[in-house]
């Protein structure tokens, strides 16, 4: 099985302080990497590096055997990034936010898929509500709904389960399993997911990686 995403000897510093070092990861199709670590251990920074927002100071990240920074455009088209913020416009409605998002990612808006996703995430009744009136959990559902709008092989998720109720967590786990069954890869920073789902874990701070 070929390695899809490989991280070698990654190191990152901020203001002469080493935030991340000796990060080594090899991910194959249908695998989940779960990133553990105390608050401030660099989980979000690592995810932003893997998503290609920041360049590391040393080490390499390869997607399908080529450095991501040599193919940033093609690479970033194949990933869906969900940060700890939800990336929604507060004054647009749920439906409009999804329309805007699909316009930014895909070339045209498919209202059938859009409605399916709304149904699936149980957001249909809120579709005409401006998102500034949504609760934290509902906002999280909306940002997870964006993941389902158009498929991509790599998911990079920062605390996706924060503020979600048990029903929302079940939705997410079902979506994640579906993503894996289509040979998808997920990199998730979370304390909530049970370890049975993830195939690899990375402990930040202690710098140990085991399979």
């Amino acid at each position: 099985m070929t390695t899809q995403l490989r991280i070698d000897q990654l190191q990152f510093e901020r203001q002469d302080e080493i935030i991340l070092q000796q990060i080594n990861v090899a991910l194959h199709a249908s695998e989940i990497l779960q990133i553990w670590g105390a608050n401030g251990s660099g989980k979000s920074t690592l995810l932003r590096i893997i998503a290609g927002f920041i360049e590391p100071h040393a080490g390499s990240i390869q997607w399908r055997n080529q450095s991501i920074f040599c193919q940033l455009d093609t690479y970033q088209q194949q990933l869906r990034y969900l940060g700890h913020q939800n990336g929604v416009k507060p004054s647009l409605t749920v439906y409009e936010n999804l329309c805007l998002y699909s316009a930014l990612t895909a070339s045209r808006i498919n209202s059938r898929i859009l409605n399916q996703v709304l149904d699936h995430m149980n957001l249909q009744s809120l579709s005409q509500t401006p998102t500034r009136y949504l609760s934290a959990g509902q906002l999280r559902r909306l940002s997870l709904a964006k993941l389902l709008l158009n498929p991509a092989p790599l998911w990079i998720l920062d605390e996706p389960l924060t503020a979600l109720d048990s029903e929302g967590q079940d939705f997410f786990k079902a979506a994640l399993l579906n993503h894996l069954s289509t040979e998808g890869i997920a990199i998730i920073a979370t304390h909530h997911l049970d370890l049975t789902l993830s195939t690899q874990t990375l402990h930040l701070g202690t710098l140990s990686s085991h399979v």
């Binding site: 920041i54 004054s91 647009l92 805007l100 070339s107």
Partner: protein, 223 residues
């Protein structure tokens, strides 16, 4: 690709119109500052006429400077900028779309109301024409240049006066030719030369600013 340009612009306009304070603030600022001058320097028409070009252009410039700070700030706080950066569409096209939407919602109202304020300062018809034309050509340049600065400081939490200090020097040429057009009109001289130079500034900034804004944003967002 261009559907993304228009969809983004449409939603940006929709968002601004829903938040009335966002587009009303620069407009009200412009109206208030200009209408304060007759009180401050006295209602003498000759004096007002003489300083009108400066009053109108400086007030418009400051009003735009106030609005430009919001171009990326809210988007950075909600994490929406990440989506723009990850989009497969060219970032400069998306930036141009945002900038154009910002101009339509924040500058166009200002230009529409400017003849009325010119009337308040006793401007004759040919100066009113010069005012509207110079603002039509000059304000997009101010927004385009301001966007580069706004993108650079987006990651800095409390930047205070950093943005005005960064972009004010770039605004000076626009200010000089903008007021120059009005002064030429007041002397009944042709203004086409001034407008042509402003059109050149507009085309130059249109060619480079969206691209530079995109680059600045990639740097700024990770500060």
């Amino acid at each position: 690709m261009f559907s993304a340009f228009f969809t983004l612009m449409q939603y940006e306009i929709k968002i601004t119109l829903r938040l009335a304070y966002s587009w009303l603030t620069p407009l009200l600022f412009f109206v208030i500052v200009v209408s304060l001058f007759p009180f401050a320097v006295g209602p003498d028409p000759i004096l007002l006429l003489k300083i009108a070009p400066g009053i109108l252009w400086v007030s418009a410039l400051l009003a735009i400077l106030i609005s430009i700070d919001h171009l990326f700030r809210d988007d950075a706080q909600t994490g929406y900028l990440d989506l723009l950066l990850l989009s497969p569409h060219p970032l400069s096209l998306l930036m141009l779309s945002k900038i154009f939407a910002h101009w339509l919602t924040h500058c166009l109202p200002l230009i529409i109301i400017s003849p009325l304020l010119g009337f308040l300062l006793h401007l004759p018809a040919n100066e009113e024409y010069a005012l509207v034309m110079s603002l039509l050509l000059g304000t997009p340049v101010l927004i385009l240049l301001g966007a580069i600065g706004a993108a650079l400081v987006v990651g800095i939490r409390s930047h205070g006066l950093l943005l005005p200090i960064l972009i004010m020097p770039l605004y000076v040429p626009v200010l000089i030719f903008g007021t120059g057009a009005l002064m030429a009109a007041s002397l009944n001289q042709p203004i086409n030369g001034y407008l042509a130079i402003m059109a050149v500034l507009l085309l130059l900034s249109l060619a480079f600013a969206p691209f530079l804004t995109g680059m600045a944003l990639r740097i700024g967002v990770n500060q």
